[in-house]
Amino acid sequence: MLNPKAKIRLSILVGAILFSAISIFLIFKTLEDNIIYFYSPSEIKQINDIDTNKSIRVGGMVKDGSIQTKKDEIKFIVTDFKNEIIVTFSGTVPALFAEGKGVVAEGKLQDKEFFLAKRILAKHDENYMPPEINKNLEQNAK
Amino acid sequence: MIIDILNLNGHGVFVWPSFIFPLLVCYILFLRTKKTLSKLEKENIKEIKILSQQKFEHIKKQKISLLNSKT
């Protein structure tokens, strides 16, 4: 069906696809630490040597009822429902920052339990709905 | 009321530009494409005219030469 020249071109193409796929996969393997945008509290638990000078990001859910505000300092617990980490932060938080919602904190680890954040980013999920619908859902859940 | 619409509970600063700029960019792209297209179409018609005229004259010459050769 294919003429010989097209066959050669096809094999070149397949070779190029394989070559680039493998090289990209290897690049991603080596750069994995940079691709991961944030670590979960469980992953922090598994770190053996904590570098208190390295800036990292911790992400998860803000634990219900854990937000405490004192003056301009805010303290809350980030959880992935297996492990937890306490985050302290002074500054303004995004409007979407709330209990039970996703959060990403940028800053430095004090130790495995404490995280000093320099910046707080709010993470929202893929659900979009009007407020009334959400109210109904919550009522039904009760 | 107009201020409410412009403000959108404080999100107007983000919502309005995110509609206005992309639509503006779309409009500019449309205008630029239209300009190039009409320019090319005009040139195209001109060239076809010139070509057909050349053809016409060529045929005319042939006919004249044919007539001349007959007489």
Binding site: A6, R9, L10, L13, A16, I17, S20, A21, I24, I36, Y37, G59, V93, P94, A95, L96, F97, K101, V104, R119, L121, A122, K123, H124, D125, E126, N127, Y128, M129, P130, P131, E132, I133 | I5, L8, N9, G10, H11, G12, F14, V15, P17, S18, F19, F21, P22, L23, V25, C26, L29, F30, T33, K34, T36, L37, L40, E41, N44, E47, L51
Partner: protein, 234 residues
């Protein structure tokens, strides 16, 4: 039957479609904007900021579809030397690039009020930025090379790399932890966007697709005339 494959027949037909499209695109975009800014409800967490989704998501989709199409055509041209495929991808690439930029720009405007940042180097955002680079290299690939054989090679190689990037964009939100939320709409499961918000999204998608079709047809005519001119000169 052969009548429909005749280039001059296609040329007249596209001219007719163009005239219709020119009149309906603007009203549909206006309807879409009215639906997304005034008619649709606010989101339960994001409030009015959710309205940016109605332009951000369709633009991102179109830029992804466009790249898939131009890569497919470029590879087709490389394998089988189908010259008409070059006309198609040359007409599609600028549209895809435009929508890629629109998606990144509106994404920044959406990120600030919701996440609290304009930009984050997470997998989804970075791979989308890389897509815009691929578009630029692709366009340079055929604009800057006069040799059609060489441009076919360059474009198809960029396409291969770009297609891998496309897969990365698609699955970036499920493979790695990202700031960007996972996708809400999939062919295989129920969408997590409420119906009242899905309607403006679909209208905007439809409107922008029609707009893309309009630009595509105009660009296609431009490229056809250019090819004709070249062949006349030679």
């Amino acid at each position: 039957m052969f009548k429909y494959l005749n280039p001059s027949y296609i040329f007249t037909i596209t001219g007719k479609i163009l005239n219709v499209l020119k009149f309906i695109v603007t009203p549909i975009i206006i309807i879409g904007v009215i639906f997304s800014v005034f008619v649709s409800p606010i989101d339960y967490i994001q409030g009015d900021a959710v309205r940016i989704m109605y332009i951000h998501v369709p633009s991102a989709w179109i830029s992804l579809i466009c790249f898939a199409a131009i890569s497919f055509l470029a590879i087709l041209n490389f394998l089988f030397k189908i010259k008409s495929a070059t006309l198609f991808y040359k007409s599609l690439a600028p549209i895809g690039l435009t929508f890629c930029f629109i998606a990144i720009f509106t994404g920044a405007l959406w990120g600030q009020p919701t996440w609290g940042t304009w930009w984050a180097w997470d997998a989804r955002l970075t791979s989308m930025l890389i897509l815009s680079f691929f578009y630029i290299i692709f366009i340079c690939g055929y604009k800057l090379t006069s040799n059609s054989e060489r441009s076919a090679k360059i474009c198809s190689f960029i396409s291969v790399l770009g297609l891998i990037n496309l897969i990365i964009i698609k699955y970036s939100v499920s493979w790695w932890p990202t700031l960007h939320q996972p996708s809400s709409i999939s062919l295989f499961r129920e969408s997590t966007v409420h119906l009242s918000m899905l309607i403006p999204l679909i209208i905007m998608l439809f409107a922008l697709l029609l707009y893309s079709a309009l630009i595509f047809l105009m660009k296609y005519r431009i490229e056809t005339i250019r090819v004709k001119k070249k062949s006349l000169k030679d």
